[in-house]
């Protein structure tokens, strides 16, 4: 046996202690010890120093942090709800009634879960918009944008699967309509829908599937992906905000206490708002699900109303599949297209970018409204072209016209002297306005039989 250099070992008790507690010794006083633990956790999540100007609330609006807070609220209220909920068609609705009438604070917890879940969808979209309009996806942050889009889809998926669980009329038909969109996917649509529903229609198997997705698969996937997302933010740093025509302020401050104190106060304010709102506004609950009776009108979950409205105007192959798929592909490829590093950290890229974004938004709203009205009262492609199958007359033809309009708009904006980036931003804003308008029309202006109505009538 070779002679190994001998080291004087400390006594066994000391070795045992060191094996449990990592050296160096923690401070002797309680406050110091607690701070050490907290600080190392904080610095695990954040860099030691952060950009001073990026701390301004009007740059990030704390949207990413708010999403984490909402996720934590959803996990904690969700775990409580698990103890009061039975996922079967016979018992689910009874659980809801019990939550409202028997369980102490049952209504508050359900309201908190419901409103936080819905707010999360809105905040996730706002977070995406903030990053887009300040060029937050520029190198080296491209992939973090892609992950962010993935997280947005997961948030929507979590909301959608949770939507079914109350098993009331609203839940049943929103999920029926929502999953029927999937059937239009060519080739695999039927199989996919059948697998998701566990049968030909929404039923007991669907509730089991959605329950498993909602409480285990989606939250776990979000946790894993969001860890990666935040780690990349920590490594890549956030973009430094910049005023127009001024050099960026590159000064830095320590994360503790400057960033952490803001985060804690912000979280507390939002918690108060959430609990306050949930104390007074009840989550909707309609009568128990009745598979024989569709409500009039039957609407999908509110964040799918833009899609459902699109379906009013396009053949399903285009309305439910091609246009959304192209939109998603466009969103994912945005950071990989040409970048203008000059615009990083500047709201809306440049002075020209600002008014163009504003004009594009207004134009998008007006054009979409005009198109919805025209399609309701005047346009009738299948009637004018009765000899064509409807996927051509109500699909390819209007879709091709739409593409021409968008390409024309892009060229028009470019001819006004904007860069590729500004023109792309104008196009994005136009499409965003169109999507928001469609969502608005679908939610508020569609009444019985999905006819256009005025909401105050």
């Amino acid at each position: 046996m070779a002679d190994l250099p001998q080291k004087d070992l400390p006594p066994v008790t000391e070795r045992l202690r060191r094996s449990v507690v990592r050296t160096p010794l923690p401070p002797k006083d309680d406050r110091g010890r607690m701070k050490l633990v907290m600080d190392s956790l904080v610095l695990h999540l954040h860099p030691a120093k952060v950009s001073r100007p990026a701390l301004k609330l009007t740059y990030t609006f704390g949207l990413g942090g708010l999403l984490i807070l909402l996720f934590l609220v959803l996990v904690s209220t969700g775990i409580l709800l698990l103890f009061a909920y039975t996922p079967s068609p016979d018992a689910a609705y009874q659980s809801m009634i019990a939550l409202q009438t028997q369980v102490d604070f049952g209504n508050l917890i359900r309201n908190l879960h419901h409103w936080s879940g819905n707010l999360m969808v809105i905040v996730a979209v706002l977070h995406l918009l903030r990053v887009f309009y300040t060029s937050g996806f520029t190198t080296p942050r491209e992939f973090n944008w892609v992950m962010g889009v993935g997280l947005l889809l997961l948030v929507v998926g979590a909301n959608f699967t949770g939507y079914l669980l109350p098993w009331d009329q609203l839940a049943y038909w929103a999920i029926t309509v929502g999953t029927s969109l999937l059937e239009y996917v060519p080739l695999v649509g039927d199989t996919l829908t059948r697998m998701l529903l566990g049968g030909p229609e929404v039923g007991a198997a669907t509730l089991t599937n959605f329950y498993a997705l909602h409480i285990a698969i989606i939250p776990l996937t979000i946790s894993a992906l969001v860890s990666f997302h935040i780690w990349r933010v920590r490594k890549d740093k956030i973009t430094i905000p910049r005023q127009l025509d001024r050099p960026p302020d590159t000064s830095k401050v320590t994360t503790i206490p400057h960033l952490v104190s803001i985060e804690l106060v912000y979280a507390l304010v939002w918690l108060v708002l959430l609990v306050g709102w949930s104390s007074f506004v009840n989550a909707p609950l309609e009568e128990a699900a009745n598979p024989a009776h569709s409500p009039n009108p039957a609407k999908a979950a509110w964040y799918f109303m833009g899609l459902q409205e699109l379906l009013m105007h396009f053949h399903p192959l285009f309305g439910a599949i091609i246009i959304p798929a192209l939109g998603l592909a466009g969103l994912l490829s945005l950071p990989y297209l040409s970048q203008d590093m000059e615009s990083v950290g500047v709201w809306f890229r440049s002075r020209r970018g600002r008014w163009m974004a504003g004009a594009s938004f207004a134009l998008g709203v007006v054009a979409t409204f005009a198109w919805v009205l025209a399609d309701e009262y005047w346009l009738d492609w299948p009637g004018w072209l009765p000899f064509l199958p409807s996927y051509l007359s109500n699909g390819w033809i209007p879709f091709a016209l739409l593409l021409l309009v968008l390409m024309g708009y892009y060229e028009l904006v470019k001819s006004l002297g904007s860069s590729d980036c500004e023109a792309r931003q104008a196009l994005f804003t136009f499409l965003l306005a169109a999507f928001l308008t469609l969502t608005f029309v679908g939610i508020f202006l569609r009444g019985e039989g999905m006819a256009l109505i005025l909401p105050w009538r």
């Binding site: 309509v177 009039n296 009013m312």
Partner: protein, 161 residues
């Protein structure tokens, strides 16, 4: 043996990768089979005996709640079993006795008594279930799988005798 073509390391990498891919595909296969929907006996999806055919007058539509379909007897005496699920987005389509049409409450699709689309957005006629009249003159409807059709066709109608 020619060492330049494939080294020991190449071979082992390939072999282990193949073993890994095989294990992965086995996992996926087992998972998918596990998640495959099961059909439950004696529920929607089974056969329905609706009794003697002559008890249904011509020009009537009879809902069969448990089977989720309508037994339609056309004016000319022909039978059809029409699945109540709208071909647009899956709503349950009620039959409007007053107008003699199927009117979807969700998105305004209108269908004739035999399921033909009168008003979009529905992309195709209402689906059918296989229907036959047995030797005792009883109507048998099999709800195992809906029959999709692009157009209505007289061949889809079943007549007595």
């Amino acid at each position: 043996m020619n060492n330049e073509e494939i080294t020991r390391r190449d071979f082992l990498t390939l072999a282990w990768s193949a073993a890994g891919a095989l294990a992965l595909s086995e996992g996926v296969f087992v998972g998918l089979r596990f998640l495959t929907p099961r059909s439950v006996e004696g529920e929607f999806g089974g056969e329905f005996n609706l009794g003697p055919a002559d008890q249904y007058p011509s020009g009537t539509v009879t809902p069969v709640e448990a089977g989720r379909f309508y037994l339609v007897r056309l004016q000319d005496g022909g039978f059809m079993a029409i699945y109540r699920r709208c071909t647009h987005l899956g709503c349950a389509v009620p039959f409007d006795q007053a107008s003699g049409q199927f009117v979807c409450p969700c998105h305004g699709s209108v269908f004739t008594m035999d399921g033909e689309v009168l008003n979009p957005p529905a992309p195709r006629p209402l689906d059918l279930f296989a229907l036959h009249i047995n030797e005792n003159g009883e109507i048998i409807v099999d709800t195992a799988s809906p029959i999709e059709r692009e157009h209505t066709d007289p061949a889809q109608v079943v007549y007595l005798g």
